[in-house]
Symmetry: D2
Subunit: 285 residues, 4 copies
């Protein structure tokens, strides 16, 4: 049983924190909208805090799951941030999808802490089911120490490498998804234009070389034009922004990822900001 401060009770953070209380950990929670922290605390027996500093005081681990680099900096190094009180040797686990540069910088600036960048994959459904994939960057010892916590909501907790490598792995994941979804969208768009029975099509090709998680889980809804679920276009664009920024510095060339990022701009213009990433097909029809 550990003492844990959990910061950021969004669609991902809420169920993750809930798994921690369910596992018997003693959890303090902080959320930008304080009412939400109060509501969580009341429901699951956690302690609501009014600052991150207050939450982090004396805990074994500070866990954050917030929006972007600025948010991460704010809740850690900011005034009233968690790092002002977090004890020496404590774990800092950041589940936010943010830049690798920030992860590296935080670890370098705070050697007294055990910093782990640990972005997740699996979406809201994975968070609720406690079935997330967690890509970890940081010292191997730190990650081993964090594993009992991460296992509360992670189905697959993998150390990728040193600090920053968790974020870089998440970026690799998003690159693979973006082009794959566009390819699937073009395939289904073509099929529709060609007058094909898409159910028969998917029956025929769904276990071959074109198979993908996206085909298994999104092809049907793409054909039906339903996108009110899943991973939002706005978030994908944020992630692709991190990807392309990182590629600018590591020298990778990502023509299709860059192109699909622009196609997501088209989807945003159509009002699809909160639609699932599979809504790429909308701009083709």
């Amino acid at each position: 049983m550990a003492h844990i401060a959990f910061v950021g009770l969004g669609v991902m953070g809420w169920p993750m924190a809930r798994h921690l209380t369910a596992a018997g950990h003693e959890v303090r929670v902080f959320n930008r909208t304080a009412e939400k922290a109060a509501r969580f605390a009341a429901a699951y027996g956690a302690t609501p805090c009014t600052t991150v500093a207050q939450a982090a005081e004396g805990v074994d681990a500070l866990i954050t799951c917030v929006g972007n680099d600025d948010d991460v900096r704010q809740v850690t190094e900011g005034a009233d941030g968690g790092f002002t009180t977090l004890p020496d040797g404590a774990l800092f686990i950041d589940h936010s999808t943010a830049s690798a540069a920030l992860a590296k910088a935080l670890a370098a600036r705070h050697p007294r802490l055990n910093c782990i960048d640990a972005p997740v994959s699996g979406g809201q459904a994975g968070a609720e089911a406690g079935q997330l994939a967690i890509m970890c960057g940081g010292d191997a010892d730190a990650i081993e120490a964090a594993r009992p916590i991460l296992d509360c909501y992670g189905r697959r907790v993998v150390r990728i490498g040193p600090s920053g490598h968790g974020q870089l792995a998440k970026m690799s994941n998003q690159i693979a998804i973006a082009g794959l979804v566009q390819a699937l969208a073009e395939s289904l768009h073509f099929a529709k234009k060609a007058g094909l029975d898409t159910a028969a099509l998917l029956d025929a090709i769904g276990q071959g070389a074109a198979q993908s998680w996206q085909m298994d889980n999104r092809a049907r809804t793409m054909v039906e034009g339903r996108f009110d679920f899943g991973f939002a276009v706005d978030l994908m664009r944020k992630d692709l922004g991190l990807v392309l920024e990182e590629a600018r510095s590591n020298g990778a060339s990502l023509p299709v990822a860059a192109l699909v990022d622009q196609f997501y701009a088209d989807v945003q213009k159509m009002g699809g900001n909160r639609d699932d990433t599979s809504s790429l097909i909308r701009r083709l029809s």
Copy 2:
């Protein structure tokens, strides 16, 4: 037990025909290089023929597995082609990947035959294992009649719709693959540039939203730079040529398929004509 003429003993046709002899069908074979037909006949107890017309005389089914539209026309409607002798009501099953227009035209011009366009997916390995996916276009009755034959090498035999729809399904399949492979190539290229441990990366993301048959079966060899197997770049370009020609007439817009087709031109310039389609990653490094 059926009388079957099989035309085209290439890397796909040879094992397919072999499954037919193994199942006890009486098979006549024709190949442009006659020596190959003789060799097949000697090995598997088939009858070699010197013309397609001779092979097709009196059979229940004429099966073709050749290179392109011109080849299909030649072995069917050409002088000494199979349609000169194929009996009324016989099956004509074309496993070639060719245009939907040709499939429709053949069926329309030869109503006395039961024409099925039946391109396959699964590659050489699938052909040898008798585990192909077969996408069929044609009358439902004809496809039902052909099923005992197709089941000899097909794991999944699906009627997509009327004549031409088999070819259109195959095109949809290739569209989905082309962009997916490029996305995977960019993901792994980025990971390499970022210095990631790709084995750990694949372990972490390999069952999530980025998962695909290509990731399961090609990511490792892409990282290793091995491409001397699988589905050749030259064949993929041929197929994408059919795709883009069809899209020009049905009004589909396929930006990523068109772009990746050009990237395959880069691979060809690098000498990768016979490399597996996953060699797209070569032009990134």
Copy 3:
């Protein structure tokens, strides 16, 4: 003064033929819609013909300006085509935009004629003003012999090389235009989204490294959303089809041309088939 058969009185051919009559040449005209030929003949003192064969009998030069490869074949080698009567040593000048393969094949099959593939650039306005650029493929002697005719409507008549090279030059021209127009469209789209005064913008950048004929002549109308003039999207797609087909055989990789070709498919879906090529900007807004 020459005896000339002119075939194809479309928006380009009509004013070209008119320049020939105005220059004193004796002109016979043929058009698929015979009424148009009759109208032209009455207006400009030409002789209308009911077949191309009739028009080409005994002339010094057969000039064609039709739609595509099939049309060119029909009016030359078809039954009642011009080549059935065109005298030995006569000029055959094809102003159609068609494949280089056809140009080469016609020249090779008819060595008794002086064949010139001579696609034009300059649009309807250039045709009417007699100010076309004419890209010629064929023997140098033949092109010199044709020059007095071509000068009637050409401001710039250039021999590019042997048969087919006129068509290949036209393809190079279209490749340069397609990407350029898309770049200009993106620039103006960005300017609009940024709230810029586009007149001031064009004043500032219009003579620098971003300058182009398209910027000089199309930027204003693109901003205004006017596209009911110029070179039609449908024709550009036809030309890009020839380009991409040729690139498939000569090994060029044309990523942006291929991509913009697909963007033109989007414009066609928006109903812009006859709009000017600058209408690419429509799909961005």
Copy 4:
């Protein structure tokens, strides 16, 4: 005659400052590498300064021509930056290509100054000849007051709009250039693959709808494979980075600009960092 502080004596700044001394202005210069400022001062009768603050003290105008946002912030708002001493009502003219957000922020935070964002176009040659195009953002009165200074090296000084609009205009310029150069590269690459005489080609198409400044000034050197001059790939990537960042916030979709940005990454991988932007053709051959 004005008192001017000029900061940043790079390949652009040096000749610009020289035009100011030549016009009789009293010029103080600062450069990160102090030796360069000393050398300039000795050659052209300017006063070298060891800090920007010293240079800006009491002047009529502070002019900066530095690398990026961080550099601009440093030389203005940094410790020893120019804004610590620049008098109320003085002109601040920034010729750097930087973000519009920074230009807006500086103007908003320093209302006591007359801030003008004034990126230039025309390259080193334009700077040396005093023939730059200057895109200005800021108050109309401020820009009018700056005009006598800007006219020393500007052929075309245009007010685009309020603060930030100079930078946005420069971005529009770069968007137009990036796709245009790629289109030209593809055109010439195709021509070469097709075996065309490119001199004849350019003679034929050089004044038509494919014409551009890039075709006039770069086509020949692209064919020859010479790129050791002009506007560097690294700088273009920096600018496209600003473009894509801005587009992310204003909602513009820039598919070809984003794609060509990635193609420039390929050129960088080939070692072409300092080559002219026309070196895009290298990655095609």
